[in-house]
Symmetry: C2
Subunit: 738 residues, 2 copies
């Protein structure tokens, strides 16, 4: 009797709105969970300061169209009681296959709350992991007789901000993330939204004038840095955030923009609006307008909040990687960081072309014999040119040569909803695929494959096995994929559940063939590279190519490490030393950094995949500066973020993998920056040959970008380097252990 | 100068609205084409009687969403002038790989009209082929600088009927064609529509209360038989017909039914409504609501009108096959007509199951080890049972044994929008795939593969190569595919352009592996089996399975040859001799024919693929009747349709391939039929052993279905057989040349 009573009392206690609390191992981050009535609610604090004010959690479900099965859906929003809570601690150190550091510590305290919904008999778990630099939570849906399949109308995870923070944001869009970052107060997002949208982009599908993308970096007036993103987004739609501001009357149910493919759910949410300055999750829909089709057991990605009062902690955080699953590949010996050049920039700039002939207004691959067409003479991916790039790579320690435009179909490939756009195996007549691979291999270089899908994913999946077989046959081990234009299957979006499944499908299939993947225009990464380390890169943001399309602001690369790079490395393709394109092409644009600033990016923009993007003939003009690109590593045993402020400056030192050499990069915005680098991280008693690639005194990204000074000296631990970065400039330092 | 003037005059003449006429080789069918103002218009007559009254032709185009490219679309509806006309004659005899006759004559007169649209500078061709038994036309879009890509909002091909005909129709639906056929006046369609929809079906997407499917069979009050269908529908959406009746105020732009996936184009057509009793084409949309994404050069399928004053000509017509392209396969030696039995009917009836275990409320293939689950004991596809079926096939001259439910995943597979539903390669633990194939082969029998896709086409395409490899490895050469439930990619429909592309993709990939395909729930056939003769069958209509779900009317199989079978053979799965299911199962339903009627179907329902659908233990009870199923051929050198009236009766004699034996089948509706068969087609001076399988005197499909009489006698050319078919009955006759 006593025991029963005790259990009963425990049960009753758990029904009360008693807050569960869990703190980070160092105690600085505190998470509180409770039921607000019957709605799951959480709060987050950092060193006693509010980070997330009381915020509801839940999901609205779509009515099952097979209602004849007798299931009338009830939202997973309220009606909950707490049926169980579990807390636990975790501390483990793991070694990434490649990364910024040789080891990563994964230490957190966990709270798992099981919630029962009486009216449906369903139960779900909300799991929180609290780290010293933030926290993640996710929804888990155990398999149960009353919850096997469900359709997500919208996830409603709230993130209530404690103030009108400064934010660095991109307009939320289902199909592009290549806009310039906006810097504004939260309250200013609505007013700046229209201008912030990259309307010229081919696929603009914005959904709300306060809808923004993640990773979203913010800074509070009292100096807290807060970042919201997600981790381990696999087979789930990519999350956007819709800000409830003073003008919000209801959460978005309608699509805005020039997409005509969306079925808006005409029923607005019936739940009360959260307080102003609250972000609410907004998932990317598929062609039906649904946000997710789920089968239990399953879970959402982790929703992450990184927080610190030191901006450098934002950059060194491993929270997102840690929230991903461990490596799923048994053998990773074939995965390797890669430095490469390629037949690419000259096409982006407009000097040569991907396509081969102008004979036809459009082509159907099955009906054209390219050997019988008339080449227009500007086809870049020709055997002779590729040989020159191979020679350049071999001469300069670059591992691979990317060649775009090697395969037939580039005459009309984008934005026509053309399904059978490429076959990924047939080279143009002037590209000797066998001979070039043999030539490259004889010089210790590999070619890098290129698969532009034109977003015709059905076509790509039909050809992928043959395409990877061809790569294996000729000795390719890395592929750059591309997803330009509207998705096929038609009506789908780049960041939907089905497309996220596709991107990961490609990575998994590639792994079977020992192929590394660098996916452009694919969904923004969320740390999946921990689980599938052959995902060595993504674009998923505004890359260097935009410098040829009009340019990006000088602060662009001082923001990206805070935002885009949180989820994984970016193939930013730096190294354009001839910053004035008119010097060698008809293109009037220029790169919005100094030459030294371009060198800095190899260190500040972490990636295991680094391109030397400029043309060999341009590098020939700056071989002393190019030396840094030759020397710099792209895999690291250690990393020290020395200085950082979003959109202002980043200074970082990294220790090259398996060596005692360090490399330092400093990059700043249009205002310049004076950097003081304490060489405290060097080995005691050791001497280093230090080469400094710095902006010259009068350097300026616009007026005098190529003014640089190279200085050599010997340094030791404790020495201090004082470096002045020009407007839009930067510096690079190599420290070779003697 | 004279020549220039002459050409100029010719040009001017062609601008006038002078009708172009072309007649069939025998002169009975006459097609007239002209411009009504600037709109393409045609009329059709048969022996001087109106078949199609003046009807417009054209397509409405969707505005290109990439309007930034400067293309504002103009419909291809009007604004045309005739810039060229060409007439020609064609006469060729070809041999089908399998068929009703050994040779097929393709004889027609052709009119090709090139139409120029001045405002756009575009030109299209409308091509008519006029046969002795009807005509086909299609739109052709040559490659041209101003017409490379276009989006079809709707095809507007009109078929203006000359009277309020009797029609045998199915409700137009984007996802099912398994309804009972309705017989009514055209003017009665609207009133009967709601009741005609099979609302219980999982995927009901009807679009208009006067929308019907093709092939549509009609009969005029003055005895003309008219059939509208299409030929060679590949990479184009399946056509429905919307009837403009007295109540029509505008053509349909909105979707009706319980599908929630369609974005209706809110802009109604601005073209004037055609006259009442006109059918207008209505294509199946994809997930975006678009009807077609086209790249020139391309063309639509042929729109076909078969016409005669003799119903038998409807059944013997080869017009649809003739309008398809010749065989595209170099080697067809591996394609063979097939008689088969299978582990199927006992599951349909409910006596056993496809799935293996009840351990889980739902399954994820990657997470379950079926060898560790508890079998429920009702799994049909087990080694022991399949061996019995193999023995039965071997003992009775059947070529193959279909086994459904052999592969893991059947625990929850339908209508859940479950992408990764099957892998098509992993057998359940109790199905010894290797041993069973070896056992079958040792007895001269093959197993037939089954690939239920659950309409998750993305999943099927991902696995198809491995699945076909497995078939090759074990010696399967035929696959039954299935498309039950909602399409994945989500939002798409069974009969859209993209799905039609998928079905043909599967057939082409199968051909590479020398695999024959029998696709169930796929789009209704349009004669593509001429081009790809490994497409040996389709379901695409209400099959025998419905007899276990409540039944089909007795006239059902007297309609199908007029409608569904116009485009190609159906895997109707006849041969259920134990017509009362309660005699061996808990299923209270019964088959709506007599036993003799079941035998008749092997002759009346032409197919190179014929199942003996009943269980071996049921056949054991009727071995004398089963003899006909053993004996009957499924490939033919000649066919004579002796009697026919839609939904009333069909009597047909066929000469077995490579022999002098004939088989005759007669099938009738619920009213019974007295058939008089003149054996004029037999060889002069030859004797035949004639076995007649007939309804007994008091037979009745409902009250006394299994009363049959088998009679043997010797017959010769010129003899007459008088046969009485019971209500819902029929007869079968074998004539073995002595």
């Amino acid at each position: 009797m006593k025991r029963t009573l005790f259990l009963l009392l425990c049960g009753m206690l758990s029904m009360l709105a008693v807050a569960q609390e869990v703190a980070s191992p160092d105690g600085n981050v505190r998470l509180k969970f409770y039921l607000d009535g019957t709605r799951p609610t959480y709060e987050l604090a950092y060193k006693g300061r509010e980070v997330i004010r009381p915020s509801h959690l839940g999901l609205e479900l779509a009515k099952d169209k097979h209602a004849s099965k007798g299931i009338q859906e009830t939202d997973l929003m309220d009606g909950f009681s707490i049926s169980d809570t579990k807390t636990s601690a975790f501390d483990e150190t793991w070694k990434p296959v490649w990364g910024e550091t040789a080891k990563i510590r994964n230490r957190y305290n966990e709270l798992a709350v099981t919630l029962g919904q009486q009216s449906t008999g369903r139960s779900i778990i909300i799991r929180f992991r609290v780290y010293d630099d933030g926290m993640g939570f996710r929804y888990e849906f155990p398999q149960q007789s009353d919850l096997n399949y469900f359709l997500i109308k919208e996830e409603r995870s709230e993130f209530a901000m404690a103030g009108d923070h400064t934010a660095w944001w991109l307009p939320g869009d289902y199909d592009t993330q290549e806009q310039e970052t906006q810097q504004s107060r939260l309250s200013e997002i609505r007013g700046r939204f229209e201008k912030a949208v990259n309307w010229g982009n081919s696929s603009v599908a914005v959904f709300s004038p306060t809808g923004v993308q993640t990773s979203l970096q913010m800074k509070s007036d009292d100096g807290l840095y807060i970042n919201i993103h997600e981790a381990a987004c696999a087979d789930y739609a990519t999350m956007h955030l819709e800000l409830v501001d003073g003008q919000t009357t209801q959460l978005t149910t309608k699509l805005k923009g020039n997409s005509n493919t969306y079925t808006p759910d005409p029923t607005p949410s019936t739940y009360p609006l959260p307080a102003p300055m609250t972000f609410v999750s907004h998932l990317t829909p598929d062609a039906t307008g649904l946000k997710g089709c789920m089968q239990t057991p399953c879970n959402t990605p982790w929703r992450t909040v990184i927080v610190s009062d030191d901006a450098r902690d934002m950059l060194s955080s491993n929270l997102i990687l840690n929230l991903n699953e461990p490596c799923a590949l048994d053998d990773t010996s074939w995965i390797h960081p890669t430095k490469y050049c390629g037949v690419w920039w000259e096409m982006i700039v407009g000097k040569s072309n991907w396509h081969y002939t102008d004979d036809y207004p459009s082509v159907q691959l099955d009906n054209i014999d390219y050997t019988k067409t008339k080449p227009h003479g500007r086809h870049a991916a020709n055997t002779e040119k590729v040989k020159r790039y191979i020679d350049f790579a071999a001469d300069n320690g670059l591992d691979q040569v990317l060649v775009e435009g090697w395969n037939i179909g580039w005459e009309d490939w984008a934005n026509m909803w053309k399904r059978d756009v490429f076959d990924f195996v047939t080279p143009y007549p002037d590209f000797d695929i066998k001979g070039l691979n043999e030539y490259a291999h004889s010089k210790g270089v590999k070619l890098m494959m290129h698969h532009e899908t034109s977003s015709s994913t059905q076509n790509y999946e039909r050809h992928i096995e043959n395409a990877f077989d061809l790569m294996n046959r000729y000795g390719y081990d890395a592929v750059k994929t591309g997803y330009v234009g509207d998705i096929i299957p038609r009506g789908d979006h780049h960041y939907s559940q089905s497309m996220n499944n596709h991107y990961l499908y490609v990575v998994k299939e590639a792994a079977k063939h020992h192929i590394m993947v660098n996916a452009h225009e694919a969904t923004r990464p969320t740390g999946l590279c921990r689980t599938y380390p052959n995902l060595v890169g993504n674009e998923s943001a505004r890359g260097t190519e935009y410098e040829a399309f009009g340019g990006s602001r000088p602060d662009h690369t001082c923001i990206l490490p805070f935002t885009r790079l949180q989820g994984g490395p970016m193939d930013y393709t730096p190294g354009v030393l001839e910053t004035q394109l008119k010097n060698w092409s008809e293109n009037p644009n220029f790169v919005h950094t100094t030459l030294a600033g371009q060198l800095a990016l190899y260190v500040t923009m972490y990636s295991p995949l680094q391109m030397a993007a400029d043309l060999p003939e341009n590098y020939a003009k700056y071989m002393d500066a190019f030396r840094f690109i030759r020397d710099v590593a792209c895999d690291w045993d250690d990393t020290k973020y020395l200085e950082a402020e979003p959109a202002d400056y980043i200074t970082v030192a990294r220790k090259a993998k398996g060596t005692d050499n360090w490399f330092i990069g400093g990059k700043c915005d249009e205002n310049g920056h004076k950097s003081i680098v304490h060489l405290d991280f060097l080995d005691e008693g050791r001497k280093y040959e230090c080469t400094i690639y710095a902006d010259a005194k009068n350097a300026h990204y616009e007026h005098n970008p190529k003014a640089y000074v190279i200085t050599k000296k010997t340094v030791k631990k404790g020495d201090v380097l004082k470096l002045t970065e020009a407007p839009g400039g930067g510096f690079a330092v190599s420290l070779m252990a003697k």
